[in-house]
C-alpha cells in the first residue's frame, strides 16, 4: 500500500523496495489506462523515463556504500504539472491554440524546485484555457472528466468517451484528475479564484492554495498577476505540507514574493478521528439570501455520514 503517498513511496524508493524506473513505468501505464479522462495534454514518456533512469542509477551507485543520499524526499517521485507552468523543452500550451507548439526555454521556479529534488516529470495536465474557468470544460484539447464520474452518473461509461460524465472542476481539473486517478503522486495547479481548491474538492483530493507571495510565480503564465498562486494537489494533507515547505521561499526573479516562516511541524499520516475538531461556517443571512443554505446543509449531511456520529449533535 505504498502507492498513495509520496512520503511512503519515497521511503520505498530509499529502501530499494521499488526502483524509480519501475515506479515511473507504472505511472505512465496508469496514464494510458486513464487516457479517457483527458487529464493530460502532453505526456513526456521519454523524458520521464530518462529522469527516472538517472535517479535509479545514482541510487545504485551510492547504494553500495550505504551512502545513498536522496536529493530530497521527492527523489524519484513522479509528478505532473498544469500546462500553464513553463517547462524547459516541453510544450506549454495553457490549453490554447495560441500557444500550441510553444516550447519554453526555461523552467518555472516551482517546477525547477521539484526537479532539483529529483522528482520525475510525467507530463502537463489539462486546464481551462489560460486558467480562465472553473470546470476544465473550456480547453482547446477537450474537457477533463472526473475520475469519480461513475459515482455520479451511476453508469459504467468510464472507459468510453461518452457524454455521461461529471466535470472535474477547474481550472486545474487535469491536475486534480491525475492525482485522484493515481497516475502521479502530486501535481502542481494554479489558483486565482479557486482553481486549485474547487477541482480538488470535486475530485476528492487534497488541494492547497498558498498565500499570495509565498510561492514564486516566475514561469507561471498569468491570468491575474495580483491574485495567481501555484497550487498543490496531493492525496494526503501531510504530503501537501511537505511540498509547500519545499516550494516556498522568496525568488529574486519574482518581485512579489515575500519571506515566509518554515513549517514548524510534521503532520502525521494517521489521524485519530475521535480527536479532530471540524470547523463549520455559520449559516448567516447572507448565505440564506444567496440560496446557499440548501447546499451547505446537504453537503454537511453527506460529510456527517462519513464522520463519527458523536461529532454531529443534531443527527
Amino acid at each position: 500500500r505504498s502507492g498513495r503517498s509520496p512520503r511512503r513511496v519515497s521511503k520505498a524508493l530509499r529502501e530499494g523496495r521499488v526502483s524509480a524506473t519501475d515506479l515511473c513505468r507504472k505511472c505512465l501505464q496508469r496514464i494510458r489506462e486513464t487516457h479517457y479522462l483527458n487529464a493530460y495534454i502532453s505526456v513526456t514518456e521519454e523524458l520521464a523515463m530518462q529522469q527516472a533512469e538517472r535517479r535509479r542509477k545514482l541510487r545504485l551507485l551510492r547504494g553500495y556504500t550505504f551512502m545513498w543520499e536522496p536529493r530530497g524526499i521527492l527523489d524519484g517521485v513522479p509528478f505532473s504539472v498544469k500546462d500553464n507552468f513553463c517547462t524547459q523543452g516541453v510544450e506549454t500550451t495553457c490549453a490554447s491554440l495560441m500557444l500550441k507548439g510553444y516550447t519554453p526555454p526555461f523552467n518555472a521556479t516551482v517546477v525547477q524546485k521539484l526537479l532539483d529534488q529529483g522528482a520525475v516529470l510525467l507530463g502537463k495536465t489539462n486546464l481551462d484555457e489560460f486558467a480562465m474557468g472553473s470546470g476544465s470544460t473550456d480547453s482547446s484539447f477537450g474537457p477533463v472528466r472526473n475520475p469519480w464520474s461513475e459515482a455520479v452518473t451511476g453508469g459504467r461509461s468510464s472507459t468510453e468517451l461518452g457524454s455521461d460524465w461529471a466535470i472535474a472542476g477547474g481550472s486545474s481539473g487535469g491536475s486534480a484528475a491525475a492525482v485522484a486517478s493515481l497516475s502521479c503522486y502530486l501535481s502542481l495547479g494554479s489558483d486565482t479564484g479557486g482553481s486549485t481548491r474547487n477541482p480538488g474538492a470535486l475530485c476528492g483530493v487534497v488541494a492547497l492554495k498558498p498565500t499570495y507571495g509565498v510561492l514564486s510565480r516566475h514561469g507561471l503564465i498569468p491570468l491575474v498577476n495580483s491574485m495567481d498562486v501555484p497550487g498543490i494537489l496531493t492525496r494526503r494533507v501531510c504530503d501537501a505540507a511537505i511540498v509547500l515547505d519545499i516550494l516556498r521561499g522568496p525568488d529574486e526573479r519574482d518581485s512579489t514574493t515575500v519571506p515566509s516562516p518554515a513549517l514548524d511541524c510534521a503532520l502525521t499520516e494517521e489521524l485519530d478521528l475521535t480527536r479532530i475538531t471540524v470547523g463549520i461556517p455559520q449559516v448567516t443571512d447572507w448565505f440564506q439570501d444567496a440560496g446557499q443554505e440548501v447546499v451547505v446543509s446537504s453537503a454537511l449531511a453527506g460529510t456527517a455520514g462519513g464522520l463519527p456520529s458523536d461529532l454531529f449533535p443534531w443527527r
Binding site: F85, H218, S255, T256
Partner: protein, 480 residues
Amino acid sequence: MVGVVGLEVHAQINSTSKLFSGSQVSFSSPPNSRVSYFDASLPGTLPVLNRRCVEAAVMTGLALNCTINMKSLFDRKHYFYADMPAGYQITQQRLPIAVSGLLIYSHLGGPKRNQVISKSIRIKQIQLEQDSGKSLHDEHQSQTLIDLNRAGVGLMELVMEPDMSCGEEAAAAVRELQLILQALGTCQGNMSEGQLRVDANVSVHRPGEPLGVRTEVKNINSIRHLARAIDHEIQRQMELLEQGGVVQNETRAFDQKTGFMPEPNLPPLLLYVSGRVPAGLDPSQVVLVDRVKALLPELPGVRRERLVEEYGILPEHSYTLVNEDGLADYFETVVKATKAEPRKVIGWVVKELLSNLNQQNLKVNQSLVAARALAELLDLLETGHVSSTAAKVVFQELWKNPEKGAEKIIQEQNLGLMSDAATLQIICQKVVESHPEEVKAIQNGNHKVLNKLMGQVQKETKGRADPVQVRAILQELTSS
C-alpha cells in the same frame, strides 16, 4: 505674437543592464543579441527592478532641484506596436520618482553675444520607463525587421513646462541638460546615437491671450537642428495665423490618459534616508537618497562660477570652457603647469586652440597641441624668450609638428625674441625715417599712430622684436 516651446526629453540611462532585466545595455551589438526572455516578453517572465537605474533617476532629480518621491509607483501603458512585444510599456504615470524641479541654464546674449544670461525651466516630473525596440522598415521586401536589443533599456523621461519662447533657448537648455547628465554620468547624452531624445511642443499666441494649438517637432538628432526646427515651426505657425489660417494639431495616437493600469508585478518603489531604514531590510534592496546626494559631482553651473572666482576669467570665457567637452579640464591643466597667469592662458585656450579645433572639426581630446606643450610655450613667452606675436606663429607650427617642442621650433625658425638694443635702434630708426607723415602726426599729439609704426617694426622683424623696448625707442625717436 510670441512662440511657446515645451520639451519632452527621453534620456537613456547609462547602466550595464536594462531597467527590468539583466540583459546588457550596449550599442551596436548584432541584432537581437542582447535580449532576455523578459525583453522578448516570453509568457511567465516578470520584471525585476535595476538598482543602478533607480540611483541614476534619484541623482538626476537631485541635480535638477526636484522633490524626490520617497514612494513611487509603476504603471503599464498599453498600445500595440511590433517593437514592443509585451503590448505595454512599464512607466510611472501616476506617481513618478521625482517632481517639481528646475533646470537653470545660461546662454550668451546681448549685442556682442558676450553676456551670460541665466534662465530657468520648470521640470514637471522625471519618470523611469522602458525603451522600445527598433523597427527597420524594408520597403523593398515589404517587411519590417525588429531588433529588440534596445527593448527594455532604462529611460528617464523628463517632462518640462512650456517656459521657453524660441529655438535658441531650447538649444541652450538642452545643451545644459546634456552637460549636467554627462557630469552626473547618468546618461551619455549623445543625441546622434539616440541616447538623448528631444521632442518639442510648439505653439504661438499673443501675450495675455490663451495658448495656441500646439504641434510636435520630432526626430531631432542634433541641438542645432532642434533650434532651427523649432524656429521654423514658430515662423510657419505665425505666418499661417496671420493669413487667417488655423494650426492643425496632429496629436500622437498615444498622447492620452487611457490605456493605463498599475503594474501588478512590481511593488511600490520605496526610497530611504540613512538612519531611518526599517529593520530587517536587505541592504542590497535599499537606496539611500542622502548617500546619492553626497555623490553629486560639481555641476556645470557651479563649475562656471568656480572658474571665474578661482582664475579671475570673464564669465563669457568660463561659459565657453564648460560648454566645450574637455576644454575646462584642458585649461586647468595648462594653468597648473605654467607660470603664466590664468588671465593670459584663457586667451590662448578660447581663441588659438578652439579656432584650430573648430577648423579641423576636432574634439578637445583630439587636440594636436597637448596641454603641457601649450604650457611650455607660455612659459617661454613669460620668460621673454619669444614675443607674443611670434608665439602665435610658434603655436601654429606646433600644431603642424606636435612632436617638436616649442623651444626647438623657436630655434629652427629663428623666432626668438629680438631684444638687442642696438639692432632694434637701427630698425626703428629706419622705420621712423621712412614714415615722416606718421612721425608728424605723433608729434602733433596723435599718439595712436605710434602703433602703426610699431607694426612696421614687427613686420621688419617678423614679429620677433621685443614690443616693450620698441615702443620706448620709437617714443624717444618721435618726441624730438
